[in-house]
């Protein structure tokens, strides 16, 4: 499969990466080169093969329903949550105004 410039632009938009026209043009052959190469996977006969879900035989562990059982994974740490915020006001993260 291959991509054209329109597809590249669409993917960039889906991925929220602003790209210029030139960048889009440059990405087309680059991505096609890679996609053309991965296309060889189509040769593999995978009939009856399950897609891998867990690379090691391991069972999903779940937690007990306890609040803040481990401080590293619990709440009540607003200062830590906001410590790196580019824009924090009144305990909130602030972002450019969204009109819904």
């Amino acid at each position: 499969m291959s991509v054209d410039k329109e597809t590249v632009t669409k993917i960039a938009s889906l991925a929220r990466i602003a790209i210029s026209d030139d960048e889009a043009n440059a990405l087309v052959p680059e991505l096609n080169n890679i996609l053309g190469w991965v296309d060889q996977l189509g040769e593999v006969d995978v009939s009856g093969v399950e897609p891998m879900t867990a690379v090691i035989p391991n069972e999903l562990r779940m937690r007990e329903d306890i609040i803040n059982a481990d401080p590293l994974t619990g709440g009540g740490v607003r200062d830590k949550i906001l410590a790196n915020a580019p824009d924090a006001e009144d305990g909130f993260f602030a972002v450019p105004k969204v009109i819904e």
Partner: protein, 494 residues
């Protein structure tokens, strides 16, 4: 007195424990080497004060007669993919510029608990995506190795753990953490003449490690020799309830069980790894490795891993797919860089931030990942790749019916000059062709230095083990190490 910075983990630990030198002396010695090596660009952040204060704590413990940890007094370099509480962590990306984690990764916390200290945060390929360290936003690391004979072209230290490989090889630290998603410990270890092991997926917690591709990422040690790797891996590994893919198993005492006598062991040699484009030097080193393991008592068996050829293309679907999603959190809202062009709305802010913050290779992989997951392509790419991954895993399972470990080259070439491959992503990707299959199957794999090529550059041999069988990997690695007698060192030019 010996130069402390020539010593590895075991020697430093033992020297500190016996009082030959103090942990602070050790830290000071390495701090000095780090400070003098800015030309290598191995560190993004240097933390000499932290190294000293952690060393002091060890010295105090020793003075107080307390039990010392497995790595007490050993200062290490921390790949800047591990979040360190209070110390900037960037994954070598501008998008995490200035990010100060308020938490400590499980692996680094385990190391500190074992008495290790931190010399600084090591440079790497941006978000661990790369094989030459050229994708770092902080400039590439330069390998301490040179071809010599007047050729001083800067060489790639390998990637993504290129800061780690360079720092250990150049004696800036006795050991360093690495992470391996598709060869990122083994390939740089091979390029710089050091030893590195990626354990079984799930041995080391991923909690607090900046994610690249969740189903593949695994941390491991990079050090001078096999014994040091065993000691350090014991300190890093262990069950972590915060990571559901972490294995709930005790950490074996690998170091104590090291044994290079391979009598009764079978070593598989996969015929599919004899690939076109592999350097003759590499093929020769492989034959040499086979001879060494035979000499160690092992029986050599010819094995087949029929889907080897497809591991790399499958990897370049799965890893970018997972990465495209894992990296969605870098959006300029809660931490890191934020770009808000005049009049931008929220979605514009995302696009501008991510465009400015991510490097070209990261963007390329996000684009590929986004594409292969998008409507209409998901089954053809992602599902197909995961099926191929099952087949790769089954290949290994079948192979380990016939042998205990697998011997292969780590890389198809020795280190290459910087700028050589970064124009062509595909040629860069192909450098991981031997490393990726073990990653895809979650298996333990190690690179051990085995000699120099005709240019005088180090080469590594790779040992791949069965699930959870790090011991056999380490033992075979030790057998090679003992026979290779690898003592070559880069001449100090920095």
């Amino acid at each position: 007195m010996t130069d402390i910075t020539e010593l590895g983990i075991a020697a430093i630990r033992d020297g500190v424990a016996s009082g030959d030198f103090t942990a602070v002396e050790v830290a000071e010695a390495f701090n000095a080497n780090v400070a003098a090596a800015s030309a290598l660009n191995a560190f993004i952040v240097e933390t000499p004060e932290i190294a000293i204060s952690m060393a002091k704590a060890v010295d105090d413990d020793r003075a107080a007669g307390k039990d010392l940890g497995k790595m007490a007094g050993v200062p290490i370099g921390m790949k800047d993919l591990f979040c360190t509480d209070g110390t900037q962590t960037t994954a070598a990306s501008n998008i995490l510029g200035g990010f100060i984690p308020q938490y400590e990764s499980t692996v680094s916390a385990n190391l500190w608990k074992a008495g290790a200290g931190m010399l600084g945060k090591l440079n790497l390929d941006q978000f661990a995506m790369g094989s030459s360290n050229e994708t770092s936003a902080f400039g590439n690391v330069i390998s301490p190795w040179r071809i010599g004979g007047g050729n001083n072209a800067p060489l790639a230290p390998g990637g993504s753990s290129g800061g780690s490989s360079t720092a250990v090889s150049a004696r800036l630290c006795p050991a360093a953490t690495g992470t391996d998603t598709g060869g990122s410990i083994r390939q740089p270890a091979a390029f710089t003449g050091i030893t590195g092991i990626k354990p079984t997926y799930g041995r080391c917690s991923r909690w607090g490690v900046v994610a690249f591709a969740s189903s593949l990422d695994q941390a491991g040690p990079m050090a001078h020799d096999v014994r040091d790797c065993a000691i350090m891996l014991e300190s890093m590994a262990g069950f972590d309830p915060k990571d559901t893919t972490s294995l709930d198993l005790p950490v074996p005492n690998w170091q104590a069980a090291l044994n290079s006598d391979l009598k009764g062991k079978k070593v598989g040699v996969p015929r599919e790894y004899r690939m076109e484009g592999t350097d003759q030097d590499i093929l020769d080193s492989w034959d040499q490795g086979i001879a060494w393991l035979k000499d160690a008592g092992a029986e050599i068996v010819d094995i087949s891993l029929p889907h080897t050829k497809y591991a790399l293309p499958a990897y370049y679907i799965i890893a970018p797919a997972e990465a495209s999603s894992n990296l969605s959190r870098y959006d300029g809202v809660r931490y890191g860089m934020r770009e808000v062009p005049e009049g931008a709305n929220l979605q514009d802010m995302y696009a501008a931030t991510r465009s400015a913050g991510f490097g070209a290779e990261v963007k390329r992989r996000i684009m590929i990942g986004t594409y292969v997951l998008s409507a209409g392509f998901y089954d053809a790419y992602y599902t197909q790749a995961q099926k191929v991954r099952t087949l790769i895993s089954q290949d290994f399972k079948a192979a380990f019916q016939q042998c205990d470990v697998i011997l292969a080259p780590t890389t198809p070439t020795a280190s290459f000059p910087l700028n050589d491959k970064n124009k062509d992503p595909l040629s860069m990707y192909l450098n991981d062709v031997f490393a990726v299959p073990a990653s895809m199957a979650g298996l333990p794999a190690m690179s051990v230095p085995c000699g120099l090529n005709k240019d005088g550059l180090p080469l590594g041999l790779q040992i791949i083990g069965n699930m959870l069988d790090e011991q056999s990997v380490l033992n075979a690695g030790l057998a090679i190490e003992e026979r290779a007698g690898f003592t070559a060192r880069p001449d100090k030019w920095w």
